[in-house]
Assembly symmetry: none
Homo-oligomer: 74 residues x 5
Amino acid sequence: MEGELAHIGAGLAAIGSGAAAIGVGNVAGNFLAGALRNPSAAAGQTATLFIGIAFAEALGIFAFLVSLLLMFAV
Amino acid sequence: MEGELAHIGAGLAAIGSGAAAIGVGNVAGNFLAGALRNPSAAAGQTATLFIGIAFAEALGIFAFLVSLLLMFAV
Amino acid sequence: MEGELAHIGAGLAAIGSGAAAIGVGNVAGNFLAGALRNPSAAAGQTATLFIGIAFAEALGIFAFLVSLLLMFAV
Amino acid sequence: MEGELAHIGAGLAAIGSGAAAIGVGNVAGNFLAGALRNPSAAAGQTATLFIGIAFAEALGIFAFLVSLLLMFAV
Amino acid sequence: MEGELAHIGAGLAAIGSGAAAIGVGNVAGNFLAGALRNPSAAAGQTATLFIGIAFAEALGIFAFLVSLLLMFAV
């Protein structure tokens, strides 16, 4: 049973990866809601959109990384 | 019991895949809400819609990938 | 006990399938809210509605696929 | 203990069935909110209402199917 | 320990039954919010209210059914 329990941990970590997508969705969704209300201002906020997505996405990728480490490096 | 516990992990990872769909739904739902309020601006934000969906979907596909790895590669 | 623990994993994966329905509901719900506010624009966004549903549904079907694989293929 | 652990999986899958009801509720709830604001447009969106319910309900029925398979077919 | 683990599954399934109540609450809650804003239109949407409740309730009853099956039929 060496390493077997780590595989349960890898699965649990992948839940975190999916949960981070809810955060990414909040960022992009609110950008779209605002951009369609005031389209002329949208271009000026694109950089902020990508900053917001990047920080939320990073946390999901960290969780994905934990999954990979538990499967292959631990 | 070789690989048996990894199957529990695969199931857990699939929860992450489903959770990411909430994020995708937030992006597409907010786009639709805005596009129906201001249809003339919708075409200009289609690229942002697909960027938002892509980042959220990617995290769900990462979780799905963990599922597949736990079932067939670990 | 061959394959027994994989059945717990199959049940866990089905939670992911149900969670994806929340995302699908966000897409369709926001479309309906907007379409009833501005019915004349609804026809022009039907394609986007199905794109949004398709991406969210796909993640739920991935989770369902993991369930089936855990029950019958692993 | 043949099939016993599969019963825990069947119970877990039923959580997915219930979670899908949140998605169905989002679709029907938003339809009702819009239809009571603009009753004359409600008839024209009834088809979209049932499309949205069908896609969300399908994911819940997939989870219920996993429950039944785990109880009686696996 | 015959059938004992199935009782854990029955308890888990009851979580799904409760989760479905959130969906039913979304439907009835949005109906009430709309009906109190526009009482004259409420009578015309009562049928849709019951359709929405029925679909969300069905998924919760499926989860309840899984509970009963796990306790008495499996």
